[in-house]
């Protein structure tokens, strides 16, 4: 297990480095920069600006400086659009917000999804089973950007129960709709996966043996069926985390929560490459690590996998 962890770490680090290098070159290959506008700047001014941001240096030197700043000081450099803010400020301001409701959505999706799936499998062909199946199907067609408008329509415009947007320091009224919008679709998928996995496990030989030796049903499920049931679910949790990250871009924009997604979309629209690059690298790194953790959890959970 330890060697496997070390090996995975050794793969993850070059992956992240490559990610940084690739996105860096991609950004610099783009025609036009943040300073190209309809009214071209005088060449002298442009040269001045470029030298301030180090854009007149050779590309490899720029890359080296950029990499070193990130690795040694976690410094993503200055924003190209905001003169008094650098990328770190923008991330520090937005990321905690995105992380808060992102984590909540992730937990809600996993907890409710798994519970629903397990109950549906235990009470196979009952109303709760049909409910879980229909939620699973509906989840496919109700991604976050569909759920958002529907929720606002019901809870803000119609019932007038919840505020239509904003953050307000993370008060619970402001958290409900983002969390529901972000988690519903994955909740449905998790429920579907858990249900079919549990059904398969409950039909297997070792469960029959456990029942045959007279174990109470509760113990059969908790002690024997639970672990193999959760295996496929765990491998889906990594992707869910990624979806929640990208979905948060929508939530930030639609519910005006002030998270990182808003800065991301704005920087994409105004071609503020520094912010775009910084956020992409941050999200990419997170993804690599979460995938690593899910793989490790999988290896730890699955008795058949020994590294």
């Amino acid at each position: 297990m330890l060697t496997y962890t070390i090996r995975r770490l050794l793969v993850a680090i070059p992956t992240i480095l490559l990610l940084i290098v690739a996105s860096f070159f991609l950004m610099h290959a783009a025609p036009g920069g943040p300073f190209t506008s309809e009214r071209p700047l005088p060449p002298a001014v442009l040269a001045n600006i470029e030298s301030r941001y180090g854009l007149d240096q050779p590309l490899l030197k720029q890359l080296w400086d950029y990499l070193m700043n990130i690795l040694l000081r976690f410094d993503f450099g200055p924003s190209f659009k905001f003169k008094d803010r650098d990328v770190n400020d923008i991330i520090a301001q937005g990321f905690p917000i995105s992380l808060t409701y992102g984590t909540l959505s992730f937990l809600a999706a996993s907890f409710v999804g798994i519970t629903l799936g397990i109950i549906a499998a235990i009470r196979h062909n009952s109303w709760i089973d049909y409910f879980a199946v229909s939620v699973g199907i509906a989840a496919q067609a109700l991604p976050n950007f569909i759920m958002g408008p529907i929720l606002i329509l019901t809870f803000t415009l119609w019932l007038q129960l919840l505020p239509g947007g904003g953050w307000n320091g993370g008060q619970w009224q402001y958290l409900i709709m983002p969390v529901i919008a972000l988690s519903t679709s994955y909740m449905g998928n998790i429920a579907r996966i858990t249900r079919s996995s549990m059904l398969e496990v409950l039909n297997s030989n070792f469960i029959r043996t456990a029942r045959a030796k007279g174990l109470p049903e509760r113990q059969v499920i908790w002690r024997h069926a639970m672990k193999p049931t959760l295996l496929p679910v765990i491998s889906y949790l990594g992707p869910v985390f990624v979806y929640v990250l990208t979905g948060s871009v929508f939530v930030d924009l639609y519910f005006s929560t002030g998270g990182l997604g808003q800065s991301y979309v704005n920087s994409a629209l105004t071609r503020d490459y520094a912010v775009l690059l910084g956020v992409t690298i941050l999200y990419g790194t997170l993804t690599v690590f979460v995938n690593m953790i899910t793989d490790l959890a999988y290896a730890w959970f699955d008795p058949k996998i020994r590294y």
Binding site: V11, T15, L18, L19, A22, S23, L26, M27, A29, A30, I137, Q140, A141, L142, P143, N144, F145, I146, G148, P149, I152, L153, L157, V242, L245, T246, V249, F250, L253, Y254, Y264, V265, A268, L269, R271, L276, T280, Y283, G284, T287, V288, N291
Partner: protein, 309 residues
């Protein structure tokens, strides 16, 4: 020995060498299974109706998708209502443009996006996976590490990145979708190719002197069709979803082009003003496309999945 009748004569006449030895191929089996699947067939019909609507809908449209109805624009909530008499069957959008024509245009975009994204995944992913899986060794290692790294970046961010860099056009969109969609496909194809590679009929082909390229074309690729079709069909709704998501954020293709995600975003932006149809129509089309696509993909998987046989 047998009595003779006109009927048996006719039957005997029908049996030729060709019909007598025709077996039931896997594809034939799969087709039959798919045709028996009621939910999937209903969805095929529903999707067909949507396609017919997209193709022939413009013929009955009273307004083009770019014309602005200035009278309706003055009071969208009242004059822009869906009605037969004004010619705006689905009402107008906030700028007085006919929503019927816009919905058709957007549905066409979304269907195209799904099909082109999936076919790019099909072409690139299959060739990449087959080469990696068939030749194996160090080449395979390098190719799969590349896929691993690319997979580590969230797909939506990649698409946004490419659209920002290459400009928000149709071609950039298709390139962006193609760039992210082939990754999983290549992994699936590689695994399948590696399993096929060790089978006896490949050995036999090699022993009888068939060239490597011919083995891939004649023996590997036809055996991959099932897996590839199933995965490609599941990719179609995923591509539509990704594109709609990006369009909703306003980072997708730009006006006058539109897509369902964009229309839903516009409808969602104005739903506070009593013009709910602006959200309802695009949403209905969107949800029906996604649901039918998923059911068709599911049906294809049931029909073609080797585990089920």
């Amino acid at each position: 020995m047998f009595g003779k009748s006109a009927k048996s004569e006719a039957l005997a006449g029908e049996i030729t060498d060709y019909t007598a030895i025709q077996g039931r191929s896997l594809m034939h089996d799969a087709r039959e299974r798919f045709l028996r699947n009621k939910a999937a067939m209903a969805c095929v019909i529903a999707l067909g109706l949507i396609a017919v609507f997209v193709v022939f809908g413009p013929l009955v449209a009273q307004w083009s998708n770019e014309e602005i109805d200035w009278t309706a624009m003055g009071d969208v909530a009242v004059l822009g209502k869906p009605s037969i008499s004004s010619g705006h069957f689905f009402g107008t959008d906030d700028l007085g443009r006919d929503l019927y024509s816009r919905t058709i245009q957007a549905t066409r975009t979304s269907l195209l996006v799904g099909l082109i994204g999936a076919s790019m995944a099909l072409i690139v992913g299959t060739s990449y996976g087959v080469i990696s899986g068939y030749y194996g060794g160090r080449l395979d290692n390098v190719m799969m590490r590349i896929v691993d790294i690319l997979m580590a970046i969230p797909t939506t961010l990649v698409i946004i990145l490419i659209l920002v860099i290459a400009g928000r056009s149709f071609i950039a969109l298709f390139i962006a979708l193609g760039a992210v969609s082939w990754l999983t496909m290549s992994r699936i194809v590689r695994a399948q190719t590696m399993a096929l590679k060790g089978r006896e009929f490949i050995e036999a082909a090699r022993a009888s002197g068939v060239s490597e390229t011919m083995i891939i074309i004649r023996h590997i690729l036809p055996n991959l069709i099932g897996v590839v079709i199933v995965y490609a069909s599941l990719l179609v709704p995923e591509m539509i979803l990704a594109e709609s998501f990006i369009s909703f954020l306003g980072l997708g293709i730009s006006e006058p082009q539109t897509s369902l995600g964009r229309l839903i975003a516009e409808g969602a932006g104005t739903m506070g003003y009593g013009t709910l149809w602006q959200l309802a129509y695009p949403l209905t089309f969107y949800v029906s496309i996604i649901i039918t696509m998923f059911f068709i993909g599911d049906g294809l998987r049931d029909a073609l999945d080797p585990k089920d046989r």
